[in-house]
Amino acid sequence: MDTEQIRAKIREVLAAHAKLPVDVRTLADDADLFAAGMTSFSSVNVMLALEDAFDVEFPDDMLNRRVFENVDAITQAVTSIAAPA
């Protein structure tokens, strides 16, 4: 899966679980998702849905809001823990 496919999948997860009051497609990759309206509780649901979507498990030290604050950060996190293709 290339980076663009990963970003697209992340946006699908955000659309389904982030409960944003705006369309996630209108947000830039570096746009702050919390500022856009994602709550702490929604961010946890996003984290769990990302684990399902990418078949990964985030280590404890990644379970914080900074890792999930925008599409870029999530992409970096997913890429860093995904098994090599």
Binding site: T39, S40, F41, S43, V44, L63, R65, R66
Partner: protein
Amino acid sequence: MPREVRPVSAEQLALRDRLIDAGLLVPSTIDGVYGHGETFEAVREALERVISAAAAAGGARRLRFPPVIPVRQLEDTGYLSNMPHLAGTVFAFAGDDGAAAEQAARAAAHADWSEFQSPTELALTPAACYPVYPALARGGPLPAGGAFIDAGGSWVYRHEPSLDPARRQMFHQHELVRAGEPDTVVAWRGEWAQRGITLLGELGLDARLDRANDPFFGRRGRMLAANQRAQDLKLELLVDIAGPEATACASFNHHQGHFADTFGVTMADGSPAHTACLGFGHERIVLALFARHGLDPADWPAAVHARLGTGA
């Protein structure tokens, strides 16, 4: 169902024994469930009056609720996702004559009779502020300046059996709730955190404020806890009661829009409200007083009695 029981320290066990021997606490057969002797309860009631008087002086309106809430409200708050291990729900018998007889026979033998029990629509109140938010929403949009509620010392339930006398399954949590503009709510929480330190200081207790997190469950809980700390959403007043760790005797929580959005609490102009609550743990503060000043209130400093209004 077996569950992990929090370890108890020798100091905590010793304090528990002393309180029971002195008749201050009346033990039950269940860890963390106690009755109060007359002396203990008199101090608790005095503390409740002091907190409510301070709230009234700040313009609080009193509301009182029973120690149960509709299960629907528990579901709406996300409690069963965030703290499922602490929740307690109410079940009741549902069945015919035969089922009743079988239930009675098993109960008499102390065998398992849970299959005859069905959920009611009630849960034990997990935090004394929970009934306040739907009540505020019922009143329509908040007036300019928001709302300030004193929900009093209400029994709350947490399923966490322990022999530490400061960790109880049912205790009085005295909640004050503020709803309003975000800036108003944050300022109120900061002001009341200082008032809490001052009040406990006047009672001869050395309290310090620290950043904290709720006891969220599991992996999602680890992230919620990290988020809560990163945003300074929960502060606690810690007091030394019985070692090795200090005990949280009050907490100051900024919920942002969580409860307001869940229950539809809005400002007069339709903008979203924020809420904050502060919860004083009556029993923990009373325990701290007995641990600090001795088991007989007659020996306590006059200034402590004066502040509690329990002087001669």
